[in-house]
Each structure stands twice: as structure tokens, then as C-alpha cells.
């Protein structure tokens, strides 16, 4: 195969990713052409055509993208630049592209775009680059060329309906375990499992029971102190995360969201409240429901940020003493550009913290953390690339730090993972917390 040549020609192709490499090895140009044309014919239409036909090649979207900015304005990383290297070429050649092309396309689509949609606010036409890149991902998925680690999460989703291969008994064990732990602090605390008719189904992403069980603990404390009537299911469907949305495996995405919504229905809850996760919110609120032909989610969905806002506003949790370290706030794309929660988030931060220092740009215009869109899930092979792809975020954080911020609040799991690496790599020496961490720490608790 022509692989050595590829490796020499493109630096980032030095990254060895078995998922992609083995997938490529199985392909032939004929198969590529067939799959591409089949998918394009079946699944794309007016949007693809209009976006591609309308783009005037003006490059105005470039400065929207943190990859572009972080790579010293390298046009290959501009939003339209990435579309040029993928979709334009595919359409021009009518799907007659070779293995190397698919390899590059897969690299670009999965690891050089977070689908953060910032560029849609910079293109005068509102061309949805994230949608176009999703099409490339869909094609790569159908061709079986996906990053190994990401595909592993997709497999887990498919087999277990959660992202981290958490077995059913491990899940309930984690809940009971966290309940017990928390009872040391609040003796009558409960994590009501399978409580039919509860008001709220509290859903989380699988990394919580797997690695960050203290988040379940904290949420339980907050819920109990606020007197919230909530429940968590014992069955699959408890996980709201969705990496299939990002690999392009929409069939499994549909299964996941169906299980999630059906669990909520089965428990007869009034709404789903989800933990501090951006991509999961996107999946439940914006993407997965659409695949299932629900214009809006069949049952109301509330992100943690909004939920905390309610609790604080209604005085259901009280703050014992405000958090005294100066904080800055990462606006996660998926709940800010994705749900406009920036003002509520600021209300929450102001209610919790003594000093809040804005990052710039902020709100809808905030830079993505570069972990979202499944990029962090593409795993260790791409870690450095991901971190270097967001130098601009490091600069943004550093600027906030010079104005006094010591703590970064990021109410999103991906942001958390992304920012952690950035803070570490660039030696920023800032603390990183979820809102829940801080609420738990400073709220009034029964003694």
C-alpha cells in the first residue's frame, strides 16, 4: 500500500490509529464510490446542495474556528477549508476518491472539527459547516473508517446502551455505593432507584459511575437538600451520552435516545434533568430526538445549569458562604450555542462565587474546548493534536488568569477533559471545577 508515502506527506498522518488504518485497508475505490453515492443519495438533499452551491469561497468563516486560530491561521484548518478538502472534493469527483482521500477525510472530520457551530455565526450565509462535516463522518462511518477509541465507545453504546461498558449491576452498585457514602454525611439521604411517578429522572453519562462517582454523590446531596423528587433507573437507558451521534452511527444513536426517552416514560417522570454534560444535551435535545422524528424531545429536558438556576432562584438551595476564589467560566458550545444557557449560567456563577471574571470572547462567541464533538473520545493518539489545536483557548484562559481568575468552571464533561489537558500542557496552573463541585462545597447542608 501507499502508506509510507502518506505518512511522509502529512505530519498528522504520523498518528497511527488502528481503527482508521484497518478500515482503510478493507476498502477499494469501487466500494468507496458505491457507499458514498448511496449515502449521499439516500440521506442528503437540499441542505447539502444549497450550502455547497451558496458558499462564495470568501473565507469569512475562518476566524471562527479555534483550530484555524491555533494553527497560526493555517487555511487547511479553516471551516470552509475543511469542507473543501472533504465534501467539495467528494461532490466534484462524484464519489470517485481513493483510500488516501478517505483517510484524510476521516482525520479531518473526526479530529479537526468539534462540530461546535461557532462558524455558523461567522459565515454571513449561516452555512452549517458542522452539518457538512457530520456528513463526512457519516460517510466514514458507513465506510468503516472511524477512530479506534471513538468506535469503541460506539460499540459499547451498541452493546450496553451506555458509553463505558458499564454492566447493569455495576450501575446499580455505583448508585447504592454513592448513596451509602453520602449517608455518612446526610443520614436520611436517598438515591431513589426506579421510583415510578417521580418528578424528575436524573440522567448522567457513563463516565460518572465509571470514573467520577463523586459527581453522583454530589448530585444526590444537592437533590436531597433541595427536596427534589427524583429517581434514577436501574435499567439501561440511564446513560444520556451518545458518541454514536459523533461517529455517524445514527441508527445506534436512535436506539440510545429511544431507550433514554422510554425509560423516562416508563418511570412516568415529568422531565429529564441531566448532569453537567454538553454533548449529551445536544444528543437528547437537538439531534437524537430528530432522528426519532421528535421535533422537540418527547419529554422536557433540562440541563444541570438550568436546573441549578431554578434551585438557586427558588431558594431551594442556600449558599452558606460564597466561593471565595476568583472564577472564570467556560461557556460550553452545546448548552450555549446549543441552548442559550449562558445568562442562566452567569446567574448561577454570580450566586455562588464572590468574584467572576469573564473570558473573552464569551457567551455564544466562546471558543470551543476542542474536546467536544467526539474529538476527545478519539483517544490518546490524538491527545497532543487536540491540545495544540486549541492554543487559542490556552491564551484565552491565560488572559483571564492575568486578570485574576484562579478557577475555571466548566459545566460540561468534555470541556472538563479538554480544559484539563490544556491547563496542564500549557502550565496554566488553574483549578478546574464543575458547578456541582462548587455548589456541593458551599451549600447549606443539614448537620
Amino acid at each position: 500500500m501507499a502508506e509510507p508515502a502518506i505518512k511522509r506527506s502529512d505530519e498528522s498522518n504520523k498518528i497511527v490509529d488502528e481503527g482508521i488504518d484497518k478500515g482503510i485497508a478493507r476498502l477499494t475505490p469501487k466500494k468507496i464510490e458505491q457507499v458514498i453515492n448511496k449515502v449521499l443519495a439516500a440521506e442528503t438533499g437540499a441542505r447539502l446542495k444549497t450550502y455547497v452551491g451558496t458558499c462564495v469561497h470568501c473565507g469569512l468563516c475562518s476566524e471562527a474556528c479555534h483550530y484555524y486560530l491555533s494553527h497560526d491561521n493555517d487555511p487547511k484548518f479553516s471551516p470552509a477549508g475543511k469542507v473543501k478538502q472533504t465534501i467539495w472534493e467528494i461532490l466534484k469527483k462524484k464519489g470517485k476518491v481513493d483510500q488516501k482521500f478517505i483517510r484524510d477525510a476521516s482525520r479531518i472530520a473526526y479530529t479537526e472539527c468539534n462540530l461546535c457551530r461557532r462558524c455558523a455565526m461567522y459565515c454571513p450565509f449561516g452555512i452549517d459547516i458542522a452539518y457538512l462535516i457530520s456528513i463526512v463522518r457519516r460517510l466514514c462511518h458507513m465506510l468503516g473508517v472511524t477512530p479506534l477509541y471513538q468506535q469503541d465507545t460506539a460499540h459499547s453504546h451498541s452493546a450496553t446502551l451506555n458509553q463505558m461498558w458499564v454492566k447493569e449491576d455495576e450501575w446499580t452498585d455505583s448508585l447504592f455505593w454513592q448513596e451509602e457514602e453520602a449517608q455518612d454525611e446526610i443520614p436520611d439521604l436517598r438515591i431513589p432507584v426506579e421510583k415510578e411517578g417521580a418528578e424528575i429522572f436524573y440522567s448522567v453519562i457513563a463516565p460518572e459511575p465509571k470514573f467520577r462517582a463523586q459527581l453522583i454523590y454530589q448530585a444526590a446531596v444537592i437533590m436531597n437538600v433541595a427536596g427534589v423528587d427524583f429517581t434514577m433507573p436501574a435499567t439501561p437507558g440511564w446513560d444520556n451520552s451518545d458518541l454514536c451521534m459523533f461517529t455517524g452511527d445514527y441508527e445506534v444513536m436512535g436506539r440510545l435516545k429511544k431507550a433514554h426517552f422510554e425509560t423516562a416514560m416508563r418511570l412516568k417522570v415529568k422531565r429529564i434533568v441531566m448532569g453537567e454534560c454538553g454533548h449529551a444535551f445536544r444528543s437528547v435535545y437537538d439531534v437524537g430526538n430528530r432522528w426519532l422524528a421528535w421535533k422537540m424531545p418527547p419529554i422536557p429536558v433540562t440541563h444541570a445549569v438550568e436546573f441549578y438556576y431554578e434551585l438557586l432562584k427558588e431558594g431551594r438551595i442556600k449558599i452558606a458562604e460564597k466561593y471565595d476564589k476568583p472564577v472564570t467560566f467556560q461557556d460550553p458550545c452545546n448548552i450555549v450555542r446549543g441552548r442559550g444557557l449562558h445568562d442562566k449560567a452567569r446567574y448561577v456563577v454570580d450566586a455562588l462565587c464572590e468574584e467572576f471574571i469573564e473570558m473573552h470572547p464569551n457567551r455564544e462567541h466562546n471558543y470551543c474546548c476542542c474536546a467536544g464533538g467526539g474529538v476527545i473520545n478519539a483517544g490518546p493518539p490524538y491527545k497532543m493534536k487536540r491540545i495544540e489545536g486549541n492554543k487559542i483557548k490556552a491564551e484565552q484562559l491565560f488572559a483571564a488568569k492575568t486578570r485574576g481568575a484562579k478557577v475555571v468552571i466548566a459545566p460540561c464533561h468534555n470541556c472538563h477533559g479538554g480544559l484539563e489537558d490544556i491547563i496542564h500542557h500549557f502550565g496554566l496552573d488553574m483549578e478546574l471545577h464543575f458547578l456541582g463541585d462548587i455548589i456541593y462545597k458551599i451549600m447549606e447542608k443539614p448537620v
Binding site: 451558496t54 462564495v56 455565526m121
Partner: protein
Amino acid sequence: MHDIYNFVSGPLVWVSFIIFFGGSLYRLISMAVLAKKKDVIVYEYMSLKYGLRSILHWITPFGTVKWRKNPILTIVTFTFHICLIFIPIFLSAHIILWKESWDISWWYISDTTADVLAVVVIASCVFFLIRRIVLPEVKYLTSVSDYIILAIVAAPFITGFWTYHQWPGFKIMGIIHILSGEIMLAAIPCTRLIHMVFFPFTRGYMGSEFGAVRHAKDW
């Protein structure tokens, strides 16, 4: 000369207007039909209120963060586009031709004004050309077609100006002017110049998604 003139100022005008209006209408309808078939989502989420909200911001100079961040480009692109549409419609020479053939007429600008505005358009085209050659992010996206499109748009202004000032060869230039105007009109539905027709829809859709579903601004 007379034969050519009669041809370009007669049947070819018809042809170009039919291609322009018919073609644009065709592109619009085929987009709508295709969307109905394959992207019903667009109909579901399109919202008049939020679509217009976004469009209004984007057609206002400095009405968006993007426009504010690039003041020079903003000024150039707005004057360019406004003049581009304004001049041919309100040019006295054009209106007289309408009057002669259809006995219709409307308000027009003085030739001096038109002259100045034509220069503005030509200068803007030069700006776009330089930008395309000099800025790496634009250059990267550029193909030959982009230069051709720019030339198609600049041509009626250059040739019109030439003819008006009766520079050498103005008679031929007049004919070329008419031809180039017709080419530009016909090119609109056939090239990326269709952006003029699609702008309200792409922007309106993004505005609807951002406004109605995501409760966020997209400007």
C-alpha cells in the same frame, strides 16, 4: 454593427432575463421540492420571526460581531452589493431603454452619480481580487471559477463606464457592455452568484435553528 446591436439589445435581453428569472425561480423551487422530500427538517424548524431576526442583523452594516470585527471588508462588501443592485436599476441610460421598449420608467440617478458609484463597484472588485490573491485563507478556497465570477460581475461596470466616457472603441464596448450585462444576469442562477437568491433561506434557517430551538443568537 446594426445587426449585432439589434440582436444583443433585443432577443438576447429576453434570453438573459428569462434565464435570470426563470433560472432563479427554478433553483428556488427545486430547492424547496428537494427539501420537502429529503430535508423536511428545514420546514419544521424554519421560523419567520427568528429567521427574519437573523437576516436583519446580517444585512445591517456592523450589525453582527463578524461585521464589526472586519470593518473594512464590511464597508466594502455593503457598498459593493448595494451599488451592484442599485446602479443598473436606477441608471438613466437603462431606464430610457425600458421606456423605449415598454413605455415604463421610474426614478433615476444622475449620470454623474452613476459614474461615481460605478467606480466604487469596480474598486470593490479590485479589493476582492486582491483579497483573494493575498489572504491565504481566501486563496486556499479559490478556484478559477472564483476569478471568472468576479470578472463576470466587474465586466458590466468596466464596459459601461468605458462606453459612457467614450473611450476608444466605445461603440464596440457598448455592445460588449450589453453582452456582459446579459452574461451577468444569466450567470446568477447558474453559478455561486445564486447566493443572492439563497441568502434569505440559508441565513433564515440558521437563524431559526439558533433562535427558536437553541435560544441563542447567531450573529
